[in-house]
Symmetry: C2
């Protein structure tokens, strides 16, 4: 009792998306059984969302319980504190974070606040676009689409009926491709079986300003994916900009084409979370924060910024790492390992990641896979896709539920109940 | 082609609760393969809700998919049209119903519009009471309770912490008893394991103006139920009226006791759906519609009114049948059979039902059962309860899901993710 024991270092992780979750998991694992540090995770929700499967939730293939994992389930396993709340302010000089009414002191801080949809300042698109970043978003899209079919059944005017049955998805990245494919599959496999609607009146569009879908994928794979979508009857409009929207239409190429529709699903762009703007740090024009190669703020080496809000150069390819889940996961692991290094008196190691693996599900048992430089698609791709996600899903319960649900889906039609 | 074939009679069922659903199911079954009639079901939601299991949804034991059954799944099986919409007006002389913008003609009409929570005109109770009549209600209660625990964890003032951890349930009928028991079980079995909260700070109250819980049950069973609840630490306040509420408190007995709380769950009373007030018919002071012994309006024998909105005398017991699911189901079957009788030129048969079976779940594998005059409680009661519900759940998918989920619940803790 003579010497005062060292108090544990306080490590605070802000945000429990992929990067924050993996930073937390790595810290808990590396610090297990040690008194070096206490870890506190802060998020505005009390659960992790497995966002890559949100298109399946929107299509009713999976339910919310398959893609949500409560953070407190981690706290049983180690020295984790969890606080549900929004980050209000950063005091980097005093080493304190304001979370609603609480002031949380830290010795090491991991800022992993993610991104939010970006509409390029277009108010019309922001008002009328449905986004797909949360379980609530996914359920809202699902309810909206099913409600459209309920209305189409009793609509006698064919023009208004076609408008109800037209779905426009903007953005041909992985989210946009998956949501258009999953909704197409929902409509073909289930809704057209239950609703007296003529299949020829259903129209689905995928719109993007670039000349290809899935720009981060190998060219041959994106061509295969596009062919797949077009063969299913999805209208893939490339080099086309969405310039406006109302309750009854979407405007393309500054008015050169008007699509009558009640449904604009927006996956057209993201920006770093607005909360990140309160962090006193240098940033790029996009709002991402400039960090050193060890993912730290140059002026505050005890502060790590990771995930979609971080600007990290990939030196081998002379471009910044893209804001995608595999990069976020690796950055979370790297930041946590560097904090453990610092706690144990070692120097930091630079972040490096050879980003080659990629998965996009196309619904109905098809997927595009780009894994370690090998690309394949079709039904084999789908199995790799399922197995890969099963590996990554966090909890044993989520895995068990997913397997059971995929089994039930094979036996039964999907649930078409909707909230009004 | 000489004689004009008889057109099928148009049977319209308004409302897809227990009584409307069973009227529809009976009509589809009795009319299968016949051209006598076409059946149209109208509901503001596109799915049936198995309301007796909503307390389990509120406690996270079951998910929405276990208790929802899309009406269109029935339309695959027979000659059923479904329309999602709200009833706006009744024209009994012209035999037309207004559903939003549609005018629906009928030859036979079944009015099964159910009931809605009633607050005895007390505006405070209506503003602050959480109800439990839909899946959305159940999820709102679940999210609210979990959010309270998230807030309690970071609340340093013990008085405010106790306020956050106090739950008041009003009404000791089956819904009130089940929800207080299920939430108690959720808190004891799951939340106290994950949240650093002192169990002694959690307080749960069940309040009712009568001198007993479960007034429709046999006395010995209600005594056993009350003992169960009290032994678990639930404060059962009988002969106590809830007279007011605010964001921070509930007022009992006109101010003689104030309970500091953020949570008032209201199962204290119901009235017939306000839509029923537009039906031109004689009604009681409570607003229930007077029908003849065959469940028809005396002036319009082609119009049947059934379920919670109907006033039917139980002649053997000299009292009206209570507004409970078993009565509603039997009335649906009776009304449908009488319509088939009329279509086939036979007279109507009076509604009679010896209402003896009753089930109340107490959470954690316990239930009270009153079945054909035999009463039992405890773990045996729970098995009867589960088996009885499994029999009644409408679809094969719901049954399969329920069995799988009960199995998963035995293996894993319940999901504590909450929407904010």
């Amino acid at each position: 009792m003579g010497a005062t024991p060292m108090r544990p270092a306080r490590v605070v992780v802000l945000g429990g998306g992929f990067s924050g979750l993996y930073a937390t998991l790595t810290l808990l694992k590396e610090l297990a059984g040690s008194d070096l540090a206490e870890v506190t995770l802060v998020d505005r929700r009390n659960y992790f969302t497995f966002t890559p499967l949100l298109p399946e939730v929107a299509a009713g293939t999976l339910g919310p319980s398959h893609v949500c994992y409560p953070f407190r389930s981690l706290s049983k396993k180690g020295r984790l504190h969890f606080i549900q709340g929004e980050v209000r302010e950063f005091d980097l000089d005093e080493h304190v974070i304001g979370i609603e009414n609480l002031a949380i002191p830290y010795d090491y801080l991991v800022v992993a606040l993610g991104s939010t949809p970006y509409f390029f300042g277009n108010q019309e698109l922001e008002s009328h676009g449905l986004t797909l970043t949360s379980v609530a978003d996914a359920l809202a899209i699902r309810n909206h689409v099913i409600r459209l079919f309920e209305r189409a059944v009793v609509e006698r005017d064919p023009i208004r009926r076609r408008q109800l049955l037209t779905i426009v998805v903007v953005g041909a990245g992985p989210s946009g491709v998956e949501i258009v494919a999953e909704l197409h599959h929902l409509i073909r496999s289930t809704l057209l079986a239950y609703y007296p609607v003529d299949a020829s009146e259903v129209r689905m569009l995928l719109v993007d300003g670039e000349d290809r879908i899935l720009p981060h994928f190998a060219r041959e794979l994106t061509d295969a994916g596009r062919t797949q979508l077009v063969e299913r009857g999805i209208d893939v409009k490339l080099m086309t900009r969405v310039t406006g929207a109302g309750a009854q239409h979407v405007e393309l190429n500054a008015g050169r084409e008007i699509i009558p529709t009640r449904t604009l699903i927006w996956t057209g762009g993201t920006v770093p979370s607005p909360v990140l703007a309160r962090l006193p740090a240098k940033r790029t024009g996009r709002g991402t924060v400039l960090v050193d190669e060890c993912l730290r703020l140059p002026d505050h080496p005890e502060v790590y910024v990771i995930g979609d809000g971080s600007h990290v150069m990939d030196r081998r390819h002379e471009r910044p790492y893209p804001p995608v889940a595999p990069v976020a996961i690796r950055q979370g692991v790297r930041a946590a390992a560097n904090i453990v290094n610092a706690l144990e008196g070692r120097g930091g190691e630079p972040f490096e990641f050879d980003f080659t693996g990629n998965l996009v599900g196309l619904g109905g048992g098809m997927a595009l896979v780009n894994f370690l430089g090998i690309t394949f698609h079709g039904r084999l791709g789908w199995w790799v896709y399922r197995m890969a996600y099963l590996q990554r899903l966090v909890g044993a319960k989520n895995k068990a539920l997913l397997v059971l649900t995929l089994g039930l889906n094979a036996l039964f039609d999907r649930d078409i109940s909707c909230e009004t």
